[in-house]
Assembly symmetry: C2
Homo-oligomer: 370 residues x 2
Amino acid sequence: MATIKDIADRLGVSVSTVSKGLNGAKDISESVRQQVLDTAVEMGYKSKRRSKDHKKKLCLFIENMDFESVNQFGYEIILGFKQAAFKERYDITVLPVSSEFQKNESYDTYMLRNHYSGSFIVGFSLEDPWMSQFQDTKFPTVLLDNFVEINKNVAYIGTDSEEGIDMALDHLYKLGHRKIAFLDGSVNSMISDQRMSAYLKSMANHGLTIDPDMAVYGYFVADAAKYHVPGFIDKGATAILCGNDLIATGVIAECMTLGYRVPEDISVIGFDDLPVSQHLNPPLTTVRQDRLELGKCGYYILDNLMQHVSLSKNLLRPQLVLRESTAEAVEREVIKHEEEKDSVINQNVALYEQTSKKALIDSIQKGLKD
Amino acid sequence: MATIKDIADRLGVSVSTVSKGLNGAKDISESVRQQVLDTAVEMGYKSKRRSKDHKKKLCLFIENMDFESVNQFGYEIILGFKQAAFKERYDITVLPVSSEFQKNESYDTYMLRNHYSGSFIVGFSLEDPWMSQFQDTKFPTVLLDNFVEINKNVAYIGTDSEEGIDMALDHLYKLGHRKIAFLDGSVNSMISDQRMSAYLKSMANHGLTIDPDMAVYGYFVADAAKYHVPGFIDKGATAILCGNDLIATGVIAECMTLGYRVPEDISVIGFDDLPVSQHLNPPLTTVRQDRLELGKCGYYILDNLMQHVSLSKNLLRPQLVLRESTAEAVEREVIKHEEEKDSVINQNVALYEQTSKKALIDSIQKGLKD
């Protein structure tokens, strides 16, 4: 591992200048300091400062996620992480970060400058600027619901979407539902892709026909329902599976606006089991993610990475929580609409490309023809 | 949780009889004892005996895997598990179990009778009798390279086959190989299926045509090579990816028997990085599984299960170890064979059914037609 002397030699400055740069002393210029930090990161230097003052520091970076109140998704994740890390006497910083913040400084430089030993990354989308930097980071980093290939310093923790969606769909199937729509979350999210793949796979395993118009990406907000629920209903959907509980809230409201009762006419299932789910009308059947456990395991996995045990993918069991938004299927008349054939095919292709299956199918079909 | 009193009430016997049955006292009949144990298991009774004598016991059950010498696959897995568990003062039993052994007594009864708190299951195939019992077990159980759905008491630990196979195939692709065969392990193994899926996916992602005759299941033994390597070579394969190092050993030998040099004519890659890999001629390029870490993580995950944290899938990073069995591709003339079209199609169907993709593809195609 690079030492302070190595950095000094590379830059042609004194060891004391490098030391000042790393420790934020005021008597060197900001530009020299930045050069010291950039070079230290490039050379893979890691601070040993914590061995002096016995303070071990971790950072939880959070973005795109509410966490202030107990009803919000991030609250228990942070709580669980803190509970597990405090036992090992870590100091935890919880830092909400914007896209702008990430553009201002590289991840490794930020970690080094602030003497963090590792971090937990929560709520990042595929478009967040630091996402590409995690591919090469030297710092132990656990990502909630995101995955980076090959880099041994980075691990992924999440809930098993495949099992969760399959449980939900199986529950609907056993209630007699055959036309089951899926309103997923945003496109630029790894878990949306996972849940879409899981839906396609589970539909296929249950022998059900997949209608691309009934498997769509929306956004992780309630409003997504307005654009898609009318189409699902026109096509005869008797049940709507949702990418999360917020979407389900919107779906229930939209069904009611259109004059359909939940669950008598249409069954609805959410994902997450936010505290609000049990207070909806009707109380929501949903796939529970145990957020306290997600936070705790975030720490356990980070602890393993800091000890050079490179766990890379770690999934928690989901749990299907049965409430009152699902009931036996009642078939409805399908309202027929004329549609452009081309447009349907284009949608299909886009859908399968998004779910990464198209390349596989093309290749297998090519193999079958050859 | 059921108490000794509950069991006594159910059976209509005294508490002391139940206690004797659970603790293996000699002064009750074997049939009464078995009835006590069976009822205790059925009612989800868990022994609290360890709180008396302060001995915490775990069992590592091992099947179909050599582990006695440091060169064998299981050796470091057991070592890692013991190292991690000893720190927490657990007593570890390592117990080789046959299929017969599993048929003689149910898993939960065995665990209860021997006062184990949890177990690590290593080397089991899908056909092992206890595999179906893990779906309902009440005991914290970690499976190496096997997965059970829904049951919160059971978790899966392994190495990420998808990333490992993709690394290997990418390495071959960059060396110019386009006709890459895959000789997988046995059919009745979850990791064989994973690696086959990973191969198909990686081939597709690299834009390569999948030839079903070049993607076959063999057995996890060197002899599998004799049956398949001649066919791969006839079809023009310039590289052969193998389901493990033993298979690769056979593939190298078979190539030489047929008059082809490794790596000059044909590149070969293994999986596992057994100690013997570096002593082969040529030394084997392979995907490393860190078996010491697998063992340690087996304990960490079991510890989580025992604390009711239900991690379900946990994968370690693989590592591509470059040695001398891979080199730049040299195209060879393809020897043409006449083949029965029907037989090829049947093989295709069998292959895709095995890899669980066929149902998905059928369903998507059906959706496209509708």
